[in-house]
Every structure is written in structure tokens, then in C-alpha cells.
């Protein structure tokens, strides 16, 4: 009976947590299709350097959503293990970006040449960022401070630490080779941030596949006592998730700083922590920790970016943008709330059974 199979399939899909971000994405796409089919058009342009590059709304979404999607990876782990969120990622990006520029520019913030290889600068930024992650993680895991309160410290201090690292100067990297991470690699028409994001997804997938990180993190997030009695070290695992988020922060910082080859301490990655948390929530992950679905979080991140781009497209005033965004977010979050989903499942079941009776 194909009809039965179809409804079974529908049942599986509707129970899957990835449904919410997928549905939201389809809805946004459908809306844009109705309003203006040219929204989806992708052009092949030439950029200022004369290289062929793809452009269009879709490209802009996958480009600008990269930092958020990368952060969503780490935020999902932190949320799952510690049952709380890191609100300092924006400030941490400022710090990490500042470190990156400091190493690249050395003492002279206007130097013509890079003072260190990019890879060295990036690795140092990674270490610093992971150390700050470890600081947050230690407060949460060993001192049992509420994650939001623990990370509030860095949230408050982070941007001034970032400014202090460069003596409050704004170093500029003049070497164009640094710009490739935030723009295009000559000859490749796809924006580099998206390629970096893809690389991050692949690495994450491999880590999930070839280590037991997923099981450990979920186990610790669901029942710490049991985890300990089964030989796990819950504190260490929580700490590890914050360190991994630190790594994600460093990658996001590289992209952010590379986009403009400089930094603005008070504006860079502003409010990105909220979007990252939202991405996790939109993915249907419980913010109280436990089970998680990484792919759903990533999709959630792109949904947020899709929404932002759509609103820009409709020429919503930049200052009014957050308000519009909030309305859509309310709808999405309410839809993905477990209680609402339960009710919806019950409703569809009822409808189906009454339909079956009628036939």
C-alpha cells in the first residue's frame, strides 16, 4: 500500500528534528519565489581584480552565513554538554581577530608587508581563542557557574581586551593575499568563507564519525552522575566543548578580519552570539542540553542568514531589520517548541484518522 508507506515516511519526517529548519528554509524560499523569482538568479561577474566570481542573493547568503554556521557547530556542543550558552563569542572574535592582526602587522600597524606568515598568525589566534574558551569552560565545569553568567565576564571585557592587544590602534593588512579568506581565491568563483565553512563541516563530521565525542557530550548533558559512574569525566568534557567553541571562534575571526583586512573592535561580530544561540534553537536542539543534531543547527544558521538577506532584499530599513527579524523568529521558535510540536503531531494524527474513517 503506497499510501501507507507515504504516511509512514511523513511520520518519520515529522518526528525528525531537522524538519523545522528545513521547513523554514522552504517557506522562505517559497515566499521569495512568489514575490520575486529573480531572487534566485545567480550571475557570473567580475570582481575588482578581474577574476570571475559568482554573485546573487543565494551566493550572498552562503557567503555571509559562514561565520554563523561555523559558530553554530561549537555552540551546539557547548549547549548540549553544559545545558547553557556561551554569550561571549562575539567578544572572543574581536580578541582573536585582534591577535591575528597584531601578529601579522607586528609593532607597526601600517606596515607594508606582513611580519609573519598567515598560518602562524592564525595558529596563535587559535591558541589564544582556545585559552579563552578554556577560561569560560573552567568557570562552568569546575566552578559550576551558570554558563551565561560565566561567559558574561568575557562578554563584558572581551572588546576592550581586543583593543588593548593592539594599543587601541586599528592595524591594516595591506598584502592582498590576506584578503582571500574573506573574499575570493583568484580563479575560484565561490566565496572562500563558504569553502572554509564546508571544510569545518567535513572536519566536524569526521570528528563525530571517528571519535565518541557525540555520545560523551550527550551523555554528560543528559545525566552527569551516570556519566561519571561509567568512567567519563564530565568536567573535562564540558571544558572540551568550550575549547572547541574557541577553535570555531578563531576560524570565524579569520574570516571576519580577512573580509575587510582590518578590524573595528566595537562592531566586529556584534550580536553574533545571539544569532548563534538562535541557530541552535532553530535546529530544534534543547537549550537545556542533552541530545543534539549538528546538521540542524547549521541549517538553522543559514535560515537566519536567508531571513536577513530576504529582509534586505525587500528594502527593510537597516535599523528596522531586527524588529522584522524578531517577528519571524518568534514564529519559528514557537513552532519548534516541543509542546507545540506534540500538539501538531496529535492534530495531524487526528485529522488522518478522521480522514481514514470517512473513506
Amino acid at each position: 500500500m503506497p499510501k501507507n508507506k507515504l504516511s509512514d515516511l511523513w511520520g518519520t519526517i515529522s518526528r525528525n528534528q531537522i524538519l523545522i529548519p528545513v521547513a523554514a528554509l522552504l517557506l522562505l524560499a517559497f515566499f521569495n519565489l512568489l514575490a520575486d523569482p529573480t531572487f534566485f538568479r545567480i550571475y557570473l561577474n567580475q570582481n575588482a581584480n578581474g577574476d570571475p566570481v559568482l554573485s546573487g542573493n543565494l551566493i550572498s547568503i552562503i557567503d555571509s552565513g559562514s561565520e554563523l554556521a561555523i559558530l553554530a557547530l561549537g555552540m551546539t556542543l557547548v549547549t548540549a554538554a553544559s545545558g547553557g550558552q556561551d554569550i561571549s563569542v562575539g567578544a572572543a572574535i574581536a580578541i582573536s581577530g585582534s591577535v591575528l592582526l597584531r601578529v601579522l602587522c607586528g609593532a607597526d600597524s601600517r606596515s607594508e608587508e606582513m611580519q609573519a606568515p598567515i598560518i602562524v598568525a592564525f595558529l596563535i589566534a587559535c591558541v589564544v581563542s582556545m585559552l579563552f574558551g578554556a577560561f569560560n569552560g573552567a568557570l562552568v565545569a569546575y566552578f559550576k557557574i551558570q554558563p551565561m553568567v560565566a561567559t558574561l565576564i568575557l562578554f563584558t571585557a572581551g572588546r576592550s581586551i581586543a583593543a588593548w592587544i593592539n594599543n587601541n590602534e586599528l592595524p591594516i593588512v595591506k598584502d592582498p593575499s590576506f584578503g582571500v579568506f574573506g573574499n575570493y581565491i583568484p580563479g575560484i568563483p565561490i566565496p572562500t568563507p563558504f569553502l572554509i565553512a564546508i571544510l569545518c563541516f567535513v572536519v566536524t563530521w569526521a570528528v563525530m564519525k571517528f571519535t565518541t565525542l557525540g555520545l560523551y557530550v550527550q551523555s554528560v548533558g543528559i545525566n552527569e552522575k551516570t556519566s561519571r559512574l561509567n568512567g567519563l569525566n564530565p568536567e573535562l568534557i564540558k571544558l572540551m566543548t568550550y575549547v572547541l567553541l574557541g577553535l570555531c571562534v578563531a576560524v570565524a575571526a579569520l574570516i571576519k578580519v580577512s573580509r575587510i583586512s582590518t578590524i573595528n573592535y566595537s562592531v566586529v561580530a556584534k550580536d553574533i552570539e545571539m544569532d548563534a544561540i538562535l541557530a541552535v534553537a532553530l535546529g530544534g536542539n534543547a537549550l537545556s542540553g542533552g541530545k543534539f543534531n549538528m546538521a540542524a543547527s547549521v541549517l538553522g544558521a543559514y535560515v537566519i542568514q536567508f531571513l536577513t538577506t530576504t529582509l534586505y532584499k525587500f528594502e527593510v530599513n537597516a535599523t528596522a531589520l531586527p524588529a522584522y527579524k524578531a517577528v519571524v523568529v518568534i514564529i519559528l521558535v514557537v513552532m519548534s517548541a516541543p509542546t507545540v510540536r506534540e500538539k501538531l503531531t496529535a492534530l495531524t494524527k487526528k485529522l488522518r484518522s478522521s480522514a481514514a474513517q470517512n473513506t
Binding site: 565518541t212 555520545l215 545525566n223 552522575k225 561519571r228 568512567g231 569525566n233
Partner: protein
């Protein structure tokens, strides 16, 4: 409705995806009676109660309540409460940081302003009238579990209930506390309340109940007067087969294991941060021994020290004659020790994870971070133990929290068996689970021991321990006070050793 009935349920049906939880179940509760609802795990007891209290909505059937001429529809716990149906669950659902009086009147606050003097006085009157010796202004969390349980009952009674459901109220109480609870139940019975009593303790059923309804596999087996149903028959009705299970086990224990070589585990002067006096302990290959003693005597703390679950503060450990250091669960696991904790929900299961993940957890941790067990292998392991231990679950991917208590326990057992331990510690593995599973677990213990595994078995039911253990270590006041073996293994000897201290005091 029949005369004298306060509640009648007719032909109740309830289906969950893949499971027919209740099929055509009838249940009648009379005024002024204590009615035991019995059945194995998964028999449908909990579902029936949840249907009655509005947690689940029935798929079919009628519920009649005295005073209503039409069948009633119960869609929520609040509606059940309005109809006079009150429930006290196994896990106390009160607020420990509020006072007793506040807890009692929590749900019926009279507007925004509260006259606390009045509330405290009313609460005290209510408690006094029920013979519960507690100060209404005391913080609930500082009362014993038994008193908290009784406060929960007082609250239920205060909401004018005619049907009181007690779901496993005694599972965390000791004997004297149970006795107090029974006094209260009998008093309520006299006052005309109909009480549904769900428990796994057969003794308690025969002590306090008037009638028994037995369910099996979601169907009604029958309703019996207590005098007309001897224990053995009750057990066989619950299990659905004529079987003298207890005799079965006794037969197997006759060939008690022989000790040879050096002990598998030997500890000297072990103590932990939980304040037990330093104790010595050893176990040989193929031996089953146990810690016994009253609740709080320190028997769990002893095994937790052995496993490194509490902070170990002293002692030397030898395994197979080699000195080893065990101060954490991880080190214990590395040395081939497994530990099934006393509190299944708090320390045992990882609720939201699947049956499969719960089963492979310990083995995975032992294997290490960079060697994940493949999905196919995990399913294979899980299925193997689901078959071996007869775990009832819809699939390997079902979250463990949706399984019944006994099946959860079997999953935890499977988790540890999968690690092939040399030495298995079972702390109250039979608590709060049905008779059939209890018997299964005891049989399994003996079978594993005969294959050479060393097992420490703890149970608050002494006869269970007498049946399975060849050596009993007796605890009193956090001290190891005696060891019984061979002919000494009798109920009286155990009782005497446990009670020893009081005798000395009288002298």
C-alpha cells in the same frame, strides 16, 4: 454503578505506537477499601493509573465516578483532581524548599494575599487529624522521605479526594516508616476513601490490602479478595505461568562455589568521604557475597568505595594478587569491575539516549575516545542483550526513559555485562521492579557466578540475599559488624547480627 463503588472503569483501551498498553481492562474501587493493583513491569498498571489521572487520554472505554450519573471524561490531572482523584507518585513531586504548610496549600492559594498564620494553623490541624507528627512550618526538605510522602498524601486528602492513588509509595521507606504509612492508609480507609495501592512488595500487599486486581500484558487477569488468593497464586497469575520460582532458585544454589587461589578483589582498610569506618573486603572467583544492613547502615557506601564512586580516602587494593589503585570509576572499570548503582534514575540511565546507546556506554568508554563502536556493531550488541535478558523495547532506538523500570534495569545490567567484568557489583538491582524480573536477575546472578564471575549483591529483601549469596557482610551504623556464611545464613542470624548493637545497649 455497583453499590459502594467510588470508581468503575469499563473496557479501557489505550494504544501507544507499537504497543497495546491496555486492552479491555475493567477496574472497580469500593468505598473504604485498599485495593492493590498488581502486575509485572509493562503489565499496564502505570498506564491505567495515568488514564485515570488524565496524564494519558484513553482510546476507548468508560470511567464512572460516584456522584456522576454519566461517564466522566478526564483530559488532564487538574480535571482528575476536580473529580476527587488524587495521586501520590513514587517520586515526591513537592517543593523541598517550601514549608510543609506551603506545600499542602500550594495549589489552592486564596487569591493574592495569604494569611500565613491561618494557613499554618489549618495545615497543622490537618496533619494532626491524620496523625502525622510534623511541624507545619518546618521546611519540607528537612523531613524524612516518609514524612514527605505523608505530607503529599495529606495534601491529596485535603483536596477532598474520594479516590487516592499511591504509586509505589514505599519503595524508598524503611520498615518502621512503612508501618507509619500503613497506619495513615488504614485511617483514611476508615474515613471512606478508596485507595489504589501500587507496589512490588508482596508482604505489604498482604498486610494492608483488601482486594487485588491483577493485570498482565495490558489485559485484566482478574479481581480477587485477598483471603482467596495465596501468595504463590498471585505470583503465578502475575507471571502467567504456574511456576514455583522461589524453589527453582534454591535448587541452583546448592552447589555453592568453591574458593581457590587468590581473591579476585581484596581491599584492606577501605574508607571514603561518605564516613564509613575502614573495612576489609575480599571476593573470590565465582563467589556471590553481599552487604546487608538497615537502610542507611552504609552498605551502598561500601560498594561505592570499592568502585571509586565516592571519594576514596584510604585503603589498599589488590586484584588477582597485584596491588592496584582504584580511586575513580574509570580505574575500577579498567580493572574489570562493574557497578550497577542503587538509584537507577539518578545514577543509572541516560534518559534521553536510546536503549542502544545506553547499553554500549560503558564498553565505549572502556574502549576509548578514538575507537567509536560502529553503528552496526552497536545494534548487534544491543540486540544480543535484548534477546539474552529479554528486554521489552519497541526498538534499539527507543529512548530508555520510555521503558518500564525493570527493563531499564536490564539495560543497565546489559551495559555492564557487555564489558565482561571480572567482578560485578549489583546494588539493589531488584528494587522497584516486578517479581518476574527479580527472579530473572537472581537466576542470572547465579548463572554468571557459576561461569566464574565474582558478584556482590545487595538487596533490602533479606530472603533474596539468603537465596543468592554464600557470604553476607553485615553493616550497622556505617561499620562492618559481622560476616555470616554456611549454616549461619538464616533470616534469624541476619536479624540478630543487624540488631546486635541494641542488645548490647540493653545489657
Amino acid at each position: 454503578m455497583r453499590d459502594g463503588a467510588v470508581l468503575e472503569m469499563h473496557g479501557i483501551y489505550k494504544t501507544f505506537p507499537g504497543v497495546k498498553a491496555l486492552q479491555n481492562v475493567d477496574f472497580t474501587l469500593r468505598r473504604s477499601e485498599i485495593h492493590a493493583l498488581m502486575g509485572e513491569n509493562g503489565a499496564g498498571k502505570s498506564t491505567l493509573i495515568k488514564v485515570l489521572t488524565g496524564v494519558h487520554i484513553k482510546d476507548g472505554g468508560d470511567i464512572f465516578i460516584s456522584g456522576h450519573d454519566k461517564p466522566v471524561q478526564i483530559h488532564s490531572p487538574q480535571e482528575a483532581q476536580k473529580l476527587g482523584i488524587s495521586t501520590v507518585y513514587q517520586e515526591i513531586s513537592l517543593c523541598p524548599n517550601l514549608s510543609v504548610a506551603e506545600n499542602i496549600f500550594l495549589e489552592r492559594s486564596q487569591g493574592l494575599f495569604v494569611n500565613w498564620k491561618n494557613v499554618n494553623r489549618q495545615a497543622q490541624e490537618l496533619l494532626d487529624s491524620l496523625g502525622i507528627a510534623v511541624d507545619a512550618t518546618q521546611q519540607l526538605g528537612s523531613c524524612s522521605i516518609a514524612v514527605q510522602q505523608m505530607v503529599a498524601i495529606a495534601r491529596a486528602v485535603d483536596m477532598d479526594c474520594s479516590v487516592l492513588i499511591l504509586d509505589e509509595p514505599t519503595s524508598s521507606l524503611d520498615e518502621s516508616e512503612v508501618e507509619k504509612l500503613f497506619v495513615l492508609m488504614r485511617k483514611l480507609k476508615k474515613d471512606g476513601v478508596g485507595i489504589i495501592f501500587v507496589t512490588h512488595f508482596l508482604d505489604q500487599v498482604y498486610e494492608v490490602c483488601d482486594r487485588i486486581t491483577v493485570l498482565r500484558d495490558g489485559q485484566l487477569v482478574g479481581e480477587y479478595e485477598i483471603e482467596s488468593l495465596p501468595r504463590v497464586q498471585l505470583v503465578s497469575k502475575m507471571l502467567g505461568k504456574e511456576l514455583d520460582d522461589m524453589a527453582d532458585i534454591k535448587g541452583e544454589t546448592s552447589d555453592k562455589p568453591v574458593r581457590r587461589g587468590s581473591p579476585v578483589y581484596e581491599g584492606r582498610g577501605l574508607c571514603s568521604s561518605e564516613g564509613i569506618s575502614p573495612f576489609d573486603f575480599k571476593i573470590y572467583s565465582g563467589e556471590v557475597n553481599g552487604f546487608t544492613g538497615l537502610l542507611g547502615s552504609g552498605r551502598s557506601e561500601c560498594v561505592r568505595t570499592i568502585f571509586g564512586a565516592d571519594k576514596v580516602t584510604g585503603g589498599d587494593v589488590m586484584m588477582d594478587g597485584q596491588p592496584v589503585k582504584i580511586t575513580s570509576p574509570r580505574e575500577a572499570m579498567k580493572n574489570g569491575i562493574a557497578y550497577l548503582p542503587e538509584d537507577r534514575k539518578r545514577d543509572g540511565i541516560v534518559g534521553d539516549l536510546s536503549v542502544k546507546d545506553n547499553i554500549i556506554l560503558a564498553m565505549q568508554v572502556k574502549q576509548g575516545f578514538f575507537k567509536p563502536i560502529s553503528k552496526a556493531k552497536a545494534v548487534e550488541y544491543a540486540n544480543e542483550y535484548i534477546r539474552l535478558l529479554d528486554i521489552k523495547t519497541a526498538s534499539v532506538n527507543t529512548p530508555i526513559k520510555s521503558l518500564s523500570g525493570g527493563n531499564q534495569q536490564k539495560c543497565i545490567l546489559a551495559r555492564w555485562l557487555l564489558t565482561h567484568p571480572k567482578y560485578l557489583i549489583l546494588d539493589e538491582p531488584t528494587r522497584g521492579i516486578d517479581v518476574g524480573t527479580k527472579v530473572d536477575i537472581q537466576k542470572l546472578v547465579l548463572k554468571l557466578a557459576s561461569e566464574g564471575m565474582s558478584i556482590t549483591f545487595i538487596s533490602s529483601e533479606t530472603d533474596e540475599m539468603l537465596r543468592t549469596c554464600s557470604r553476607l557482610l553485615v553493616m550497622r551504623d556505617r561499620k562492618l559488624v559481622g560476616e555470616l556464611k554456611g549454616d549461619q545464613l538464616t533470616q534469624t542470624a541476619v536479624m540478630n547480627t543487624i540488631a546486635g548493637g541494641e542488645k548490647n545497649a540493653k545489657k
